[in-house]
Amino acid sequence: MDLGTIWFILWGVLWAVYFVLDGYDFGIGIIRPFFSKNDTETRIMYNAMGPFWDGNEVWLITAGGVTFAAFPKTYAIMFSSLYTPLMLLLFSLILRGVTLEFRSKVDSAGWRKLWDACNFLGSFLPALLLGVAFANIFMGIPLDKDGILQGNLFTLLNPYGLAGGLLFVFLFAHHGALWLAQKSEGEIRERALRTAGKLWPVVAALVVLFLVMSWFMTPLFTNYLVHPALFIVLLVPVAGLLLTCKYRREGRPLASWVGSALLIGGAALFGVFGIFPALLPSSLNPAWSLTIENSSSTPLTLSIMLGVALVFVPIVIIYQVWAMHLFRHPVTQEDLDYDEAY
């Protein structure tokens, strides 16, 4: 396998990992207004992601950085042509980030309400925007030969893009409910499991809808039909979808969350393998697509980066898993009394 292909796969994997990890933070934020009955429950929800959200967000920074480093031209055109949605994404991520830090710093109900509202927006909007953006990328965006988007924000809000947005919102909401279930106990845990149970049929329906729309509206399946062995990739999200349901019914939230992680990661990879070897397909003319070949860095940069990734990514995974293990216990009253709790 050549360096460009290796980095293409790593690029896809990084985005997939980011969706899996920050996805549950967004999900908790999305379901919170409908789930939480009082301030204590809200605090349990925030603290369920408390020690993790920041580390999760770094996967986005890395995915962005790797796009920049390995495929600079794709990075440049992806970010400048999707200017408005990315600015919206950025502002929502800023809101989400400061919410957690600010919310408990002033003892006033109005203050907390304000940041709760910001947290909802800062969770819902990124989920929606990332879904819309990636669905559009999967379908191909109207890029001309100079890499300039022929259209605007509303061009991106087409039926397939919106289906992608909805899919992400519900995937993450379901994912967040499961994370909350495995980080809480008693009544909240049961209720979070029931919430995930209510969301699951919607998720399943949207997954099917998205696959059907992908078949008719995008060239995603072309690669799969040429290399039928690739259909194994599609088995991952399908298996995840079924396993998450099975484990949830057995009352095993962590296992069910892992199933949901397979579903999200697999869905992202399904799309990424579908667009290979383009990172940013042009819907106007395939020759104007940004591909591995016309947008990658030099072999020297790619190999140095690969060395860095091979050394550091395993180390990162080790200490992040260790940190998750360290804070694996359910959030309890004792945690909420802790002076650093959110």
Binding site: G50, P51, F52, D54, G55, E57, V58, I61, T62, G64, G65, V66, F68, A69, A70, F71, P72, K73, Y75, A76, I77, M78, F79, S80, Y83, T84, L86, M87, L90, F91, L93, I94, G97, V98, L100, E101, F102, K105, V106, D146, G147, I148, S297, T298, L300, T301, I304, M305, V308, A309, F312, V313, V316, Y319, Q320, A323, L326, F327, D339, E340
Partner: protein, 433 residues
């Protein structure tokens, strides 16, 4: 207003606001690490309280540093796409390495440190804050290596219409970048010291928690003095390097127009770029500029007139920012000496002196901002010195897109900065738990 100007304003604004939060993170993380180490060594609970009290102020800042840093990464792609395409092979990899090797470490261990007080042994817990401090400063190193490439490009070849990596070793051993790194982080460590001294002085003025804040004051004063001195020394070296590799920036820093040996400096100067000279200049000190630039009184210093007009940086802004930085840097040394002298019984100082320490909290902030203005404005009209002009780097966007986002940045960032200052003040005034 065109896309170029709007994008420059947006980037400058986002960077300056980001750099309100970052230096305190760099400096205070080390100070907290020193405090917690003292706790582990002596078992004195005061030092544990100190780590928690100052750690809280560190954390409020940290969150804002993260979210505003995200903006900068985005902006290279959104607003400077031609730049990103041109230097991605080199610049992009440095950013990616920063995230992989430093930022993950910092973000993960910050959380472990915050939530891990009861879960980890004191020694291991203290190790976490050292990791955070190390990672924060390592992060700065990678970012400044990337900036160093913009200031003094090395290790590249121009090929296929872009700068391609020729030697990674050259890029990461860039002398300009390393000196710039030390100049920046020592400034940030001094800032951390001033912050601790100033906040402690506020409490000592009110004679509350005297023992706690005296001990804090002592650590802060040591940081402030050591690094206020080191940052000046490294700064002098930075001047030498700039003279060598960015002569137009040096000339703009001093509003120096005529190429000459024994180049003088003036105590008072008002640049007049329109007429290629200074409208006012007096208080001539002969040869000082030659000494500053080349450590040699008879060295020839190139004047701005010897650069084509289109290659000259904005003189007035570069000149003013440089004077401001040096002036405030000198003030920092004086104040740090006073704090160091007072360190044993600061509570017995005259209230005027204690008030001075409180009022000096913003001084290093302003000095650091001015320093970055010298570095970035002085580099103009180049985005990559000598290789790519800023005007050729901007994305092909509609003016309205950038105008709207710029207004949004103004509103959101001003609110964030205001809330940050409000919360820092609120928590700085609290009694240590």
């Amino acid at each position: 207003m065109d896309v170029l100007l709007l994008s420059r304003l947006q980037f400058a604004f986002a960077t300056f606001i980001h750099f309100i939060f970052v230096p305190l993170t760099l400096g205070l993380s080390f100070i907290v690490a020193v405090m917690e180490t003292k706790y582990v060594r002596t078992g004195d609970e005061t030092y544990k309280k100190m780590a928690k009290f100052w750690g809280k102020l560190f954390l409020i800042n940290f969150a804002l540093g993260v979210v505003t840093g995200l903006t900068l990464e985005f902006q290279f792609g959104t607003n400077w796409s031609r730049y990103s395409t041109f230097v991605g092979d080199i610049f992009g990899s440095l950013l990616a390495i920063e995230a992989t090797a430093a930022f993950f470490l910092e973000s993960t261990f910050v959380a472990v440190w915050v939530f891990g007080w009861k879960k980890l042994s004191p020694k291991f817990h203290a190790t976490c804050i050292w990791l955070v401090a190390f990672a924060a400063n390592l992060s700065a190193l990678w970012i400044i290596l990337a900036n160093g490439f913009m200031q003094h490009p090395v290790g590249y070849v121009i090929q296929n219409g872009r700068a391609e990596l020729a030697s990674f070793t050259d890029v990461i051993t860039n002398g300009y970048a390393w000196n710039e790194f030390f100049h920046t982080v020592t400034g940030a460590w001094a800032l951390g010291g001033f912050f601790v001294v100033g906040v402690s002085a506020w409490h000592l003025l009110r004679k509350q928690n005297v023992d706690f804040f005296t001990k804090s004051f002592r650590i802060g004063a040591a940081f402030a003095l050591i690094f206020a001195l080191v940052v000046a020394l490294v700064g002098h070296r930075q001047g030498n390097i700039v003279a060598e590799v960015q002569p137009a920036k040096l000339a703009a820093m001093e509003s120096h127009w005529e190429t000459q040996p024994n180049a003088p400096m003036y105590l008072v100067q008002v640049p007049d770029p329109e007429n290629e000279g200074n409208s006012i200049q007096f208080g001539k000190i002969p040869s000082i500029l030659s000494i500053m630039a080349f450590n040699n009184p008879s060295a020839v210093v190139k004047g701005l007139k010897d650069f084509p007009k289109q290659d000259r940086p904005p003189v007035t802004l570069t000149f003013s920012a440089f004077r401001l930085m040096v002036g405030l840097g000198t003030l920092m040394i004086i104040v740090a000496i006073l704090a160091f002298i007072a360190r044993h019984q600061p509570v017995e100082c005259s209230p005027k002196l204690l008030k001075l320490f409180v009022w000096c909290i913003p001084v290093p902030y302003l000095a650091l901002q001015a320093g970055w203005a010298v570095a970035e404005v002085g580099r103009q009209p180049w985005i990559v010195y000598g290789l790519m002009r800023t005007k050729d780097a901007v994305s092909p966007l509609a003016t309205s897109q950038v105008a709207i986002s710029l207004v949004a940045f103004f509103v959101v960032y001003i609110l964030l900065a205001a809330i940050d200052i409000f919360l820092l003040t609120k928590y700085a005034r609290k009694q240590p738990a």
